[in-house]
């Protein structure tokens, strides 16, 4: 059955152009000139993907996608806007209303590839293996209330002081947030939530709330390499090296939306600890007996799907930005043809590899030269970044 796409834009010429561009694809394409029209179309028959302009009179793209998210959560929501302002872009993906933010002018071929990629990822995450596993989980972890409070405040453009006050009123959170920042960030040390938000930005703090909540929910659980303390160490190490590496390549800090990708990339494992505790013993034993077998294979054999897919599913389900979902899903397969942001995913794979070494474990995978090429670095770069973040690192 062909996929359905709705394009929404108050500029008719744009709709015409898009219609022409998608004329020779197998998708069923609808266009609507206003948000109201688009909602009416959705009522008639749900679309698989909706691409909306941002600035429209009456109801803007953000509002439209918010309604779509509430009523048809499985529809993939994308913004295609002429706005170049970074704040608007970030805001749109911060609250999970849009999966991605694309800008005008667009390249027809690239847009089509992107849309194909969204569908394929959606299909992967909703493939029978993943879904079956997910279905065996009674309840997926929910995001903490604080997360929604903070997101609502970001949406309302409240000022930093007000947001940090809100966070500081929640017992336990301040310590948890500062702990993450001081262990997962490279070259940054903060003493208060206000400082954290000022230095790092709202998006990062929001992601910290997510990750630290999940780690907190499995506190003290797990065993061997699947123990939460070990994973905590590993994830933070990963994040730190990633920041250091990114800084040494690009001479600027990693973009806000990726800033916590290192901490979040293995949350599938936390889900395994949390929801498959009965299988954990067998899984760990098998991994220990076969030190060279990729972890993913063992997970697929025992649980039915891998931690990469589980984690990506969770991030997607929580409506985190597409870049994070993709990085999580493909961090053991960065060269997969479906990967759009190859550089970031490759970097993540490389730092994953090195942070295993940093804790004295032998990684179960090797980094092929193509991965270094994709990441745009050499092995030497990676090692020197490693040494910057961890001065006593020794290959």
């Amino acid at each position: 059955m062909p996929k359905t796409i709705i394009f929404v834009d108050d500029e008719e010429h744009i709709l015409h152009a898009l219609r022409r561009a998608f004329m020779d694809t197998e998708y069923v394409v609808h266009t609507s000139a206003s948000a109201a029209e688009a909602l009416a179309l959705m009522e008639k028959g749900k679309a698989d993907l909706i691409v909306s302009d941002m600035r429209m009179a009456e109801m803007d793209g953000h509002e439209l996608l918010k309604i779509v998210k509430d009523r048809w959560p499985s529809a993939i929501r994308i913004i295609l806007s002429g706005d170049t302002d970074k704040n608007t872009t970030l805001k749109a993906v911060t609250d999970g209303v849009a999966k991605a933010y694309l800008t005008k002018p667009w390249d027809d071929a690239a847009l089509k590839a992107q849309i194909a990629h969204f569908f394929s990822m959606h299909d992967t995450l909703n493939s029978s293996g993943v879904l079956e596993t997910i279905n065996r989980i009674d309840r997926l972890p929910v995001l903490p209330d604080l997360y929604y409070k903070v997101v609502a405040m970001i949406q309302k453009e409240e000022n930093i002081s007000k947001i940090s006050e809100t966070i500081e009123r929640e017992p336990g959170w301040v310590a948890r947030i500062l702990k993450v920042i001081n262990s997962a960030f490279y070259g940054i040390s903060v003493a208060s939530v206000h400082q954290a938000i000022t230095f790092l930005g709202m998006i990062i703090v929001k992601d910290i709330i997510i990750s630290s909540d999940l780690f907190e929910s499995v506190k003290g659980k797990g065993m061997g390499e699947m123990h939460v303390d070990f994973l905590w160490e590993h994830s933070n190490t990963c994040n730190r090296i990633l920041h250091s590496l990114y800084l040494s390549i690009h001479h600027r800090d990693i973009p806000e939306e990726f800033a916590l990708v290192g901490v979040l990339h293995d949350i599938g494992k936390l889900l395994i600890i949390k929801c498959f505790s009965d299988k954990l013993d067998g899984l760990v034993r098998q991994q220990e007996s076969q030190p060279l077998r990729p972890r993913i294979d063992a997970e697929r054999a025992i649980i039915g799907t891998s931690h990469a897919e589980l984690g990506a599913y969770l991030l997607d389900w929580w409506n985190l930005p597409h870049v994070l979902v993709e990085a999580c899903l493909y961090h053991h397969d960065p060269l997969n043809a479906n990967v759009q942001n190859k550089e970031l995913v490759s970097l993540l794979t490389i730092v994953d590899y090195f942070s295993w070494k940093a804790v004295g474990k032998k990684p179960r995978f090797d980094i092929r030269n193509e991965i270094y090429e994709c990441a745009g670095i050499t092995r030497t770069d990676a090692i020197s970044a490693m040494k910057k973040a961890y001065p006593d690192f020794n290959e």
């Binding site: 744009i14 015409h16 152009a17 022409r20 170049t84 005008k104 002018p105």
Partner: protein, 537 residues
């Protein structure tokens, strides 16, 4: 001369003067006190010795009289008790005599020696007379005591003693008078001393007061006056926004003035940088808005070009088929394959849309150019404010069109001498503020911005009012201040309206007033004078 050295000089002069006065008065006091040290002790000692000698002399006279009487009584009565009395007092008399001789000072010693000689002869005669009475020679005894010789001695002694007292100028027992004179003279000396000391004190006080007045005047001249002139200059000049430029004298004020002037020039530099950065921020905002406006047409134009390429590829393939002389069936099949029917229908629409898109982009760029007057003379020119408003509206369209409708009520106004791109910057600022205020209300209905221009007197007025939330009362007084902003940190320099104020008020000698209209929205009233001499200063 520096203030420090002025003060040091002043202090040294004061010290010297006070030193001189003190020295003089101490010297005078010392001089005054000299008699107290020598004369008064001498006078007291003298007084002491004189009274002692007087007592001795009186004793001598008393004993002499007593002895003479005793001797005569014995001679006439032959009563032994007188003889006994005589000998009883004789040793005391002799003793007193000896004492006068020894304790008299050199000037009196010779005199007392004669007294003593006369005395001795008197005593010798008396004792001889007393002996004669005992031996029955009463008559002889009386004869001795009545003898001329005896009386002569007696008189000599008496005269000598009297002479002693008269020589001192004292009557017999008037020694106290002498002491009182001495005391009187001492007290007179003391009074004199006190008076002179008092006089010296008054002189000292007057001189000190004089010095203090001089020092005060000096301090006023060298410190207070320059400070006053500083503050006056700063007050008067800073209002007009002119350079203050304090005079750099050779003292500390010069140092202060230099630092101040340095600071001022640095501040002006910073201000210029800030104005520049505000301009950049405005340009950034403008660029974002314009980018959005341009990105839409460019978006469909570029997409359409890609489509057109495909269409052309279809045409080319079809033409090739025709050229090869393919049969109708093949060509028809190919036409269907490339969807020729639709393409032929669509290609005109596509081209028309692209043309329209391109003309939109061209219009936007032209508006921008007109708005910024990039190619025009940057100086004062007679310009139509209405054109400026229309240009600004097109540039600000992206900020306004999603939140508010604009109603124009542009009067038939004469051209105004102004720098139009600067005036446009003011319009843009006010309009974007209005649009943002309306947007931030998150209202359900669209807002409305009314722009009115009219001529009145020698001025052209432009009123920009909206039906947004209005300006909070605590903001309205500060909104033209530099750096005042209600936006979050990083979302505006807070210079926009202060630059607008500068452009209208300082550069064009007009006025800009913000107020809230009765129905709640904000209203900016801009006045620009029509007279050329009131143009740019």
């Amino acid at each position: 001369m520096t203030i420090r050295s002025k003060l040091i000089y002043l202090l040294v002069v004061l010290c010297v003067l006070v030193g001189i006065v003190t020295f003089v008065s101490v010297y005078q006091l010392n001089e005054l006190a000299a008699p107290l040290k020598t004369d008064i002790p001498r006078a007291i000692e003298e007084l002491h010795s004189v009274t002692e000698m007087d007592a001795l002399v009186n004793q001598v006279r008393y004993y002499d009289e007593l002895l003479t009487q005793s001797a005569r009584n014995y001679a006439f009565t032959k009563d032994v008790k007188w003889k006994q009395r005589y000998y009883l007092y004789l040793p005391a008399f002799m003793d007193a005599m000896r004492q006068t001789e020894t304790s008299a000072d050199s000037s009196l010693r010779a005199f007392f020696l004669t007294v003593s000689v006369e005395n001795d002869s008197l005593v010798a005669m008396e004792t001889a007379a007393l002996d004669k009475v005992g031996n029955g020679g009463q008559k002889d005894a009386i004869a001795i005591l009545e003898s001329n010789n005896y009386w002569k001695c007696k008189r000599t002694l008496e005269n000598a003693l009297r002479a002693y007292f008269s020589r001192r100028g004292l009557s017999d027992d008037n020694a106290y008078e002498f002491s009182s004179v001495t005391i009187h003279s001492v007290s007179a000396m003391a009074t004199n001393m006190v008076r002179r000391t008092y006089r010296a004190g008054v002189v000292l006080v007057v001189m000190t007061a004089l010095f203090l007045i001089i020092a005060g005047m000096f301090l006023y001249r060298s410190i207070v006056r320059p400070l006053d002139s500083f503050s006056r200059k700063i007050r008067t000049h800073s209002v007009g926004g002119q350079t203050i430029g304090l005079a750099e004298t050779n003292d500390e004020f010069g140092v202060v003035a230099k630092s101040f002037n340095d600071m001022e020039s640095r501040l002006r530099q910073n201000q210029m940088q800030l104005v520049q950065s505000e301009k950049l921020a405005a340009i950034g905002q403008l660029a974002a808005g314009v980018a959005h406006e341009i990105n839409n047409p460019i978006g469909f134009i570029s997409s359409n070009s890609a489509t057109l390429k495909k269409y052309v590829a279809g045409f080319v393939s079809l033409i090739n088929l025709y050229r090869k002389g393919a049969d109708t069936e093949t060509t028809l099949l190919h036409e269907t394959k490339i969807n020729l029917g639709f393409i032929l229908q669509d290609v005109d629409v596509l081209l028309k849309e692209n043309e329209e898109g391109l003309s939109r982009v061209i219009a936007i760029v032209k508006n921008l150019k007109d708005f910024a007057r990039i190619d025009a003379n940057q100086g004062v020119m007679l310009s139509n404010i209405n054109d400026g408003i229309r240009n600004t509206l097109l540039v600000a369209a992206n900020e306004i069109k999603y939140v508010a409708d604009v109603k124009l009520d542009l009067g038939n106004i004469p051209p105004v001498p102004c720098v139009l791109n600067e005036i446009n910057q003011v319009f843009l600022n006010v309009l974007v503020n209005a649009a943002q205020a309306i947007r931030d209300q998150k209202r359900t209905s669209r807002g409305c911005i009314l722009i009115r221009t009219y001529e009145e007197g020698e001025n052209v007025y432009c009123e920009i009012s909206d039906n947004g939330p209005g300006i909070p009362s605590d903001v309205i007084s500060k909104m033209f201040d530099p750096f005042f902003t209600t936006k979050d940190v990083g979302k505006g320099t807070g210079l926009g309206l202060s630059i607008s104020y500068d452009i209208i008020v300082n550069k064009h000698k007009g006025s800009i007033i913000a107020e809230n209209s009765v129905d709640g929205g904000a209203c900016f009233k801009i006045r620009l004078p029509l007279t050329t001499e009131a143009g740019r200063a």
